[in-house]
């Protein structure tokens, strides 16, 4: 039996032109919609049902969260630039923007840590009331998603120093990008549902 090394692997036959990893990511995101949908649904069901304070209007800080939301949205913009740079084989730019995505994501996470610790100081904990329970679970799950995204971007960045990367690897950045944009979009929903609606 001849064992051709896989480096010379030929292209595989596929019935559609959608690459497997990309299709997989779309399906995962569809499923993730249901995860966040359930969490957001739980938040809405329990909205205004906390028996004791602090209530959302007491603790939510719209200006600060607006800034952190803006940072997260801008990270999506950098994601697009990073993918474009990799597709055009502009590796220094690709590294710069990829680092930017991870950095902006980290800034967002920093805001979240600050927000959480402020809330706890003001008496809102997981166990305090239904708002605390649902708020921390929902935004915490989102924060974990962002953390995974940051780690993913940093891993891609480090990989680009370990082995040469070119436009042939764009698919893998694109898949990570799908994930990153999705996490962003979820934040827009969360920002609206938890923060903005409270002050309408």
């Amino acid at each position: 039996m001849s064992q051709a090394a896989v480096e010379h692997a030929p292209e595989h036959y596929r019935s559609t032109s959608l690459p497997d990893p990309k299709l997989m990511m779309w399906i995962f995101l569809a499923s993730d919609c249901m995860f966040f949908g359930t969490l957001i649904g739980t938040y809405l069901v329990y909205k205004n049902r906390s028996l004791e304070g602090p209530f959302p209007v007491d603790v939510l800080d719209i200006p600060i969260t607006t800034v952190s939301s803006f940072v997260l949205l801008m990270s999506s913009f950098l994601m697009v630039l990073a993918l474009h740079a990799l597709r055009t084989d502009n590796i220094p730019r690709f590294r710069l923007w990829t680092f930017g995505v991870a950095f902006f994501g980290s800034v967002f996470l920093g805001f979240q840590v600050f927000e959480f610790s402020t809330f706890v100081k003001e008496g809102l904990t997981l166990q305090q009331n239904l708002f605390g329970t649902t708020f921390f679970t929902l935004t915490g799950t989102h924060g974990i998603h962002v953390t995974i995204g940051v780690l993913w971007m940093l891993s891609i960045l480090i990989t680009s120093y370990v082995r040469p990367m070119s436009s042939k690897d764009a698919l893998y950045l694109e898949v990570a990008g799908l994930y990153w944009h999705f996490v962003d979009i979820v934040w827009i929903v969360i920002f609206t549902v938890i923060y903005l609606v409270e002050f309408v």
Binding site: M1, Q3, P10, E11, R14, S15, M24, V45, L130, L171
Partner: protein
């Protein structure tokens, strides 16, 4: 190659663990990524857990034989019916469908393997170890005893301080991850890995039903996973999701559970529909009647499966408008199901029917499932449901739907596909005995429960007083378990006999219609010598009887590049093992162990990613060398 140019995946030299290469022995099974081996593992594990669930059911039936018995205590009885339900739904019947799909779906579409072979292995090990975790609860302070749907606030820490509930939540949480990734894997495989010419409307119905099932898994498991997660949070971190004292509402659990729970019924039964749609045409010597209708009904059932969950909650007081709406959607979902039954009957009609054991089971499925469907329509009426809610009528109904719908058809599938999987025939003479004992036993057990339910016997009771008129039918029901048990043991004997001195099956013992029959039995590890080209529905019949093909032959161009055999890997089983041990950390709030296992998972993910799919290529002409 015309369609779907895809670059080969880059390979990295970074390796934490040497890539395993065993081809036989225990280690080869632990590290396998072959869909056929994993399919066999799924099927064996399913039958193992089905055995455990049957023992539990047996004890339940013994306890209920006569009024006032105390063979098991009420406490143990609660654990038995909980674990029987959980096991049958999550650990036995659903994975059995996934197992058959794992083995036969790639063969039916002419693929080498699933799209993500290592993920498939991970899915199996996570399911299996999650199930084992759930069962170890028997040794550590008692199994879950809150019913298979674990209604809140029964599950709160104050009402249920033991660890049984934690085992339920964590076990299903972990097992659910396995099912989810496998569902995603199936979708990518079916969309992307069909052989040239295998258009969507030429796919075998089994593959179609697996596709619908996979979508149901992808959308239905997240609500359950989150609900389980919320209870874990309540019990481990003191959150208030289901704490009435803090304003939490028990009804939310019911909604989340049944938003998952009703699609779960179809996750279990659609693969069974698919298998039946393969077996009935094969043994009727006719193509399936109304192929597009069967497919579209399956898709419609998939959609409607998400729109009927509240019929499980008619008596919770949601009001007449909600009840009416969900009664209507439930009636509607009966229509595509009925259409399928008529299509199967029309397939048999006018065919040259061969009454093999598989066909007998398939026909018994038609009858049994129809009865379960009719009682289902009865229960869909809120006034009637209010009368028989939580009675043995409901028990009889869902055993007719699940046991009759899924179990009988999977037994049909076992008789149909066993020759392909092992290369040996199961004895048809013994098979007839198995059929009559199992199907007869099934009717003896569950038909009387309709009467007991209408007479008012509640479910989940450990015993009942004399003189309420439940005695006679309970005795019959218990006798039925013995009959069915003999049938199942005979099936086991028949399997052993087949391995010992079964007739060789040959490639195509049933004159099959689908591609899996075109290769040897058992199939070679690389599946197909050459990529099959599909010219019509019932692809293998089209190859064998070209005069029956009316479609234009495929002119798509593709080049043979040899067959890619993905490399084995340690990571799936390591990651699953870390989740398994991490599950105990979550149950006993042992955070150091939890952090350790989390670290293993993080490192394992990197190992997995950098290991790459690997493997090697073989070429058809060199395979024998």
């Amino acid at each position: 190659m015309a369609v779907g140019r895809q670059p080969a995946r880059p390979v990295s030299e970074v390796k934490l663990l040497a890539r395993p290469t065993w081809t036989r022995g225990l280690l080869s099974w632990l590290t396998t990524v072959d869909h056929k081996r994993l399919g066999i593992l799924y099927i064996l594990a399913s039958f193992f857990f089905m055995g455990l669930a049957s023992i539990e059911a047996f004890l339940i039936r013994l306890q209920l034989t006569r009024p006032g018995l105390s063979i098991v205590s009420p406490d143990v009885y609660n654990q038995l019916f909980t674990m029987h339900g959980v096991t049958m739904v999550f650990l036995a019947i659903m994975p059995l469908g996934i197992g058959f799909a794992n083995y036969f779906m790639p063969l039916m579409i002419g693929a080498r393997d699933l799209a993500f072979p290592r993920l498939n292995a991970f899915g199996f090990w996570v399911y299996f170890l999650g199930a084992i975790l759930l069962y170890t609860s028997f040794f550590f302070g008692g199994a879950p005893d809150v019913g298979w749907f674990a209604y809140s606030p029964l599950t709160s820490l104050s009402n249920n301080p033991g660890t049984g509930t934690d085992y339920y939540m964590v076990g299903l949480f972990i097992g659910g991850i396995g099912t989810l990734v496998t569902g995603m894997n199936f979708i990518v495989t079916i969309i992307n890995m069909r052989a040239p010419g295998m258009t969507l409307m030429r796919m075998p119905v089994f593959v179609w039903m697996i596709l619908v099932t996979a979508f149901l898994i992808v959308f239905a498991f997240p609500p359950l996973t989150i609900a389980l997660f919320q209870v874990i949070m309540d019990r481990s971190f003191g959150t208030l999701f289901y704490e009435p004292a803090g304003g939490g509402m028990a009804i939310l659990w019911q909604h989340l559970f049944w938003i998952f729970g009703h699609p779960e019924v179809y996750i279990i039964v659609l693969p069974a529909f698919g298998a039946i749609s393969e077996i009935i045409p094969t043994f009727s010597r006719k193509p399936l009647f109304g192929y597009p209708i069967v497919i579209l009904s399956g898709i419609f059932i998939g959609f409607m499966g998400f729109a009927v969950w509240t019929h499980h909650m008619f008596t919770t007081g949601l009001g007449p408008v909600v009840n009416t709406a969900f009664a209507l959607t439930t009636f509607v979902i009966g229509v595509p199901t009925g259409l399928k039954v008529f299509n199967w009957m029309a397939t048999i009609w006018g065919g040259r029917v061969q009454f093999t054991t598989a066909m007998l089971f398939a026909i018994s499925f038609l009858v049994t499932f129809t009865i379960g469907g009719i009682t289902g329509i009865m229960l869909a009426m809120p006034p009637f449901d209010a009368l028989v809610q939580d009675s043995y009528f409901v028990v009889a109904h869902f055993h007719y739907a699940m046991g009759g719908g899924a179990l009988l058809s999977f037994l049909a599938a076992t008789y149909y596909w066993f020759p392909k999987m092992t290369g040996k025939m199961l004895s048809e003479t013994l098979g007839k005995w198995v059929f009559w004992l199992v199907a007869g036993g099934f009717y003896l057990i569950f038909f009387p429960q309709h009467f007991n339910g209408l007479a008012g016997m509640p479910r989940r009771i450990q015993t009942y007083p004399e003189g309420l008129g439940f005695e006679f039918w309970n005795v019959i029901s218990t006798i039925g378990t013995f009959v069915m048990a003999v049938g199942i043991l005979l099936l086991l004997y028949s399997v052993i006999l087949a391995f010992a001195r079964g007739e060789p099956a040959g490639n195509d013992p049933w004159d099959g219609r689908t591609l899996e029959w075109s290769i040897s039995s058992p199939p070679p590890y690389y599946n197909f010598d050459e990529m099959p080209v599909v010219n019509d529905r019932d692809a293998f019949w089209a190859q064998k009887y070209p005069e029956s093909v009316h479609a234009k032959p495929v002119e798509e161009e593709f080049e043979e590049h040899g067959i890619h055999i993905p490399g084995q890997s340690w990571y799936p089983v390591i990651m699953a093992g870390a989740l398994f041990i991490g599950g105990y950390a979550l149950i006993y709030n042992n955070w150091w162990l939890g952090i350790l296992m989390f670290a293993v998972i993080v490192i394992g993910s990197y190992g997995w990613a950098f290991e790459g799919i690997g493997g090697h290529h073989i070429h058809p002409e060199e395979k024998e060398a």
